[in-house]
C-alpha cells in the first residue's frame, strides 16, 4: 500500500508537497538566471528594471568568449571521436576476450570516473609540466580523453553485450573475414551504443571544469574555464547570457534524445 499512490492518505499530500517544492527549488534558480540575462541591471537586481539584449550582443561580439566556445567545441569533438574509437576497441576486448583479470581490467577502466577529479588534475598537471603539454590542444584532448573513456566504454559494452554474437559468426560463415564481419554487421547493429558513447564523451569534455583549469593558458581557455575565472572576479550578467545559451543547448539535447528514444522501433 505504500507504493499505491491513491491509498497513501495524508502521506499523499506530504509527498506531493515536497515534490512540488523540490521541483521548484531545482527549477527556479535556473529560470532566474535566464530572466536576468535579459535584464538591464548590471548588478543582477531581481526583478530587473528593464529588459535588454545587450548582454548577448556583448557576448557574441567578444572575440575571447567566441574563442572559448570554439576551443571547447573543437576539443569536445576530437575527444568524442577518439574516445569512441578507443572505447570500441577496449569494449571488444572486455566483452569478447578470454583472459585472466578481465573483470579487474574493466574496473581499472572505470577508475577515472570514481575518483576525485582534482587529484587527477593535479597529477596530470605535474606530468604535463615536464612534457610541456600544458596549454596545448593535444594536452587538453589527452586529459579529457582519460575522463571521457569510462563513459564511452560503458555505453559500448552495454550495446555489445546486448548483441547476439552468433549474427557475427553467421557473417563469418557467409565468407566475411572476422574484421569485415565486425565492420559490416556488428557496428551497424550497435550504432545506438556508439552514438551514446560519442554524445557522453562530448558532454564529459564540454562540461569539464577542474582539469581544464589546470590545463588552460591565457591563450587557450575552454568555455568553463573562462566562466570560472570571470566568476572569481565578478558576477557579470554576461555570464547569465552564457548560461542561458548553455541551458538552451541542454534542452535541445534532451529534446533530441527524447525523439531518438521514441522514434526507435522496439
Amino acid at each position: 500500500m505504500l507504493l499505491d499512490f491513491d491509498r497513501l492518505g495524508a502521506l499523499r499530500a506530504v509527498l506531493s508537497g515536497i515534490a512540488v517544492l523540490v521541483g521548484a527549488f531545482l527549477l527556479l534558480p535556473v529560470i532566474v538566471i535566464v530572466l536576468l540575462s535579459f535584464g538591464s541591471s548590471r548588478y543582477l537586481q531581481f526583478p530587473p528594471p528593464s529588459w535588454t539584449l545587450h548582454w548577448y550582443t556583448d557576448l557574441f561580439n567578444d572575440p575571447d568568449w567566441l574563442a572559448s566556445f570554439a576551443t571547447s567545441a573543437e576539443i569536445a569533438i576530437v575527444v568524442a571521436i577518439v574516445a569512441t574509437l578507443l572505447g570500441l576497441m577496449a569494449s571488444f576486448g572486455l566483452t569478447r576476450g578470454r583472459f585472466r583479470g578481465r573483470e579487474t581490467l574493466r574496473a581499472v577502466f572505470m577508475t577515472p570516473m570514481v575518483m576525485p577529479v582534482v587529484v587527477f588534475a593535479v597529477a596530470l598537471y605535474a606530468l604535463f609540466l615536464r612534457l610541456q603539454l600544458n596549454g596545448t590542444f593535444i594536452g587538453f584532448v589527452i586529459a579529457h580523453l582519460v575522463i571521457a573513456l569510462p563513459f564511452a566504454i560503458i555505453s559500448i559494452c552495454n550495446a555489445l553485450e546486448g548483441f547476439d554474437k552468433s549474427i557475427e559468426d553467421a557473417a563469418v560463415l557467409c565468407g566475411a573475414s572476422p574484421l569485415e564481419a565486425k565492420l559490416r554487421v556488428t557496428l551497424p547493429a550497435i550504432k545506438a551504443g556508439l552514438f551514446g558513447a560519442a554524445i557522453f564523451s562530448f558532454l564529459a569534455s564540454w562540461d569539464e571544469v577542474v582539469v581544464a583549469i589546470f590545463m588552460s593558458s591565457p591563450d587557450l581557455q575552454t568555455l568553463p574555464v573562462r566562466i570560472f575565472s570571470t566568476l572569481q572576479q565578478d558576477l557579470s550578467p554576461v555570464i547569465a547570457a552564457v548560461s542561458t545559451v548553455l541551458v538552451a543547448l541542454t534542452v535541445l539535447l534532451m529534446v533530441i534524445a527524447a525523439f531518438f528514444r521514441r522514434g526507435k522501433p522496439a
Partner: protein, 292 residues
C-alpha cells in the same frame, strides 16, 4: 598459429593447436592511454609526496599536525556530511513520489530533475552566487518581509557552499533511489499488511530495509563526491574556510608546494577509494557508476 602434425586420410591423427590468450589486444591502446596518462601521474604524485622536498613522510606529518590543515579537513568532512544528510532527506520523498505518482506528474518532475542534472555545473553554481548575494533576491525578500534586519551572510562561507552543493547533488541521490523504489514489488507490502503490520511498521520493517541498498549507494556516492568537490566550494566559499580540493589546487598553483599537495591529494584519494571499496564489499558493483 601453426599445426604440428599432418592428418592422413584414414588415420586417427593428432592435430594440436597452441592455446591462445585470446582477445586481449584490442584493449591495449586504451590501456596504454590510462597507464601513461592516469596511473603514471598518480604514482608520480605519490612519489612527490614522499620525496619532495626531502625523502620521508614529513609532508604527511605536516598535514596532520597543522591546525590550519586539520580545520580544512574538518570543514570538508562536516560539509560533506551535512550535504549528504540534507540531500537524502529531500531526495527520499521525491524518489518515492517519482516511483508511485501518476505518470504525467512523475514524468514532469523527472524531466525537471534531468534538466537540472544536465545543466552546466557552473551555471547552477552561478545561479546560487546571484541568489545568495547580500543584495540578492533571498536577502531582499527576507528583509522586505521583515524577517531579518540586515542581510544574512549567505555567500563566501560554508553555508553558501552547503546550499549550493545540496542543490547540485540532489539529482544524483534521487535517480538511483527512485530506481530502487520502482523495482520493489507491491505484493511484498500487501503481504506484510496481511500479516498484520500497520502502516508505520510496514514502513520501518519492510520499505526501508528493501531500499537500504539504494540509500546506501546514493549516500556513499554523494558523500565521496562532496569530499572531493572543487568548483562549488571555490566559488561559493570564502578564502578563510576552504575545503580540501581548493587547498590542493592552491598548494599547487599559488604555493608550488608539490610535496604537501601530493600528500593532501593522496589522503583524499585513499579516503574516497576506501569508501567505494566498502560500498563494493557490501553493496556490490551496481552503484559505482550508475549515474547516467
Amino acid at each position: 598459429m601453426s599445426t604440428t602434425a599432418m592428418a592422413f586420410p584414414g588415420n586417427r591423427a593428432v592435430t594440436r593447436r597452441p592455446r591462445r590468450v585470446s582477445g586481449f589486444w584490442p584493449t591495449s591502446p586504451a590501456l596504454a592511454l590510462l597507464i601513461v596518462f592516469f596511473v603514471a601521474p598518480l604514482l608520480g604524485l605519490l612519489l612527490r609526496s614522499v620525496l619532495d622536498p626531502h625523502p620521508g613522510l614529513q609532508n604527511y606529518a605536516e598535514v596532520f599536525a597543522s591546525t590550519t590543515y586539520l580545520r580544512i579537513f574538518m570543514n570538508t568532512f562536516i560539509v560533506a556530511t551535512v550535504v549528504t544528510t540534507a540531500t537524502l532527506l529531500l531526495a527520499f520523498p521525491v524518489a518515492w513520489f517519482l516511483a508511485v505518482a501518476p505518470r504525467r506528474w512523475a514524468s514532469l518532475l523527472f524531466a525537471v530533475i534531468i534538466l537540472s542534472m544536465w545543466t552546466n555545473l557552473l551555471t547552477r553554481t552561478y545561479a546560487w552566487m546571484v541568489l545568495l548575494q547580500r543584495t540578492g533576491i533571498i536577502n531582499k525578500t527576507l528583509m522586505s518581509w521583515g524577517v531579518i534586519a540586515a542581510p544574512l551572510p549567505l555567500i563566501n562561507n560554508l553555508i553558501g557552499v552547503t546550499i549550493g552543493m545540496t542543490y547540485i547533488m540532489l539529482p544524483f541521490m534521487v535517480l538511483p533511489l527512485q530506481g530502487t523504489i520502482r523495482s520493489l514489488d507491491p505484493a511484498t507490502f500487501r503481504a506484510a499488511s496481511l500479516c498484520g503490520a500497520g502502516r508505520l511498521q510496514v514502513f520501518t520493517r519492510v520499505f526501508v530495509p528493501l531500499v537500504a541498498s539504494g540509500i546506501g549507494a546514493g549516500v556513499l556516492m554523494v558523500f565521496v563526491m562532496s569530499l572531493g568537490y572543487f568548483v562549488t566550494p571555490a566559488l561559493l566559499g570564502g578564502t578563510s574556510n576552504m575545503m580540501l580540493a581548493e587547498l590542493i589546487a592552491q598548494l599547487v598553483q599559488s604555493l608550488l608546494n608539490w610535496g604537501l599537495a601530493g600528500a593532501a591529494a593522496l589522503i583524499l584519494l585513499v579516503v574516497s577509494l576506501g569508501i567505494y571499496a566498502i560500498q563494493f564489499r557490501f553493496f556490490g558493483i551496481r552503484a559505482a557508476g550508475e549515474v547516467e
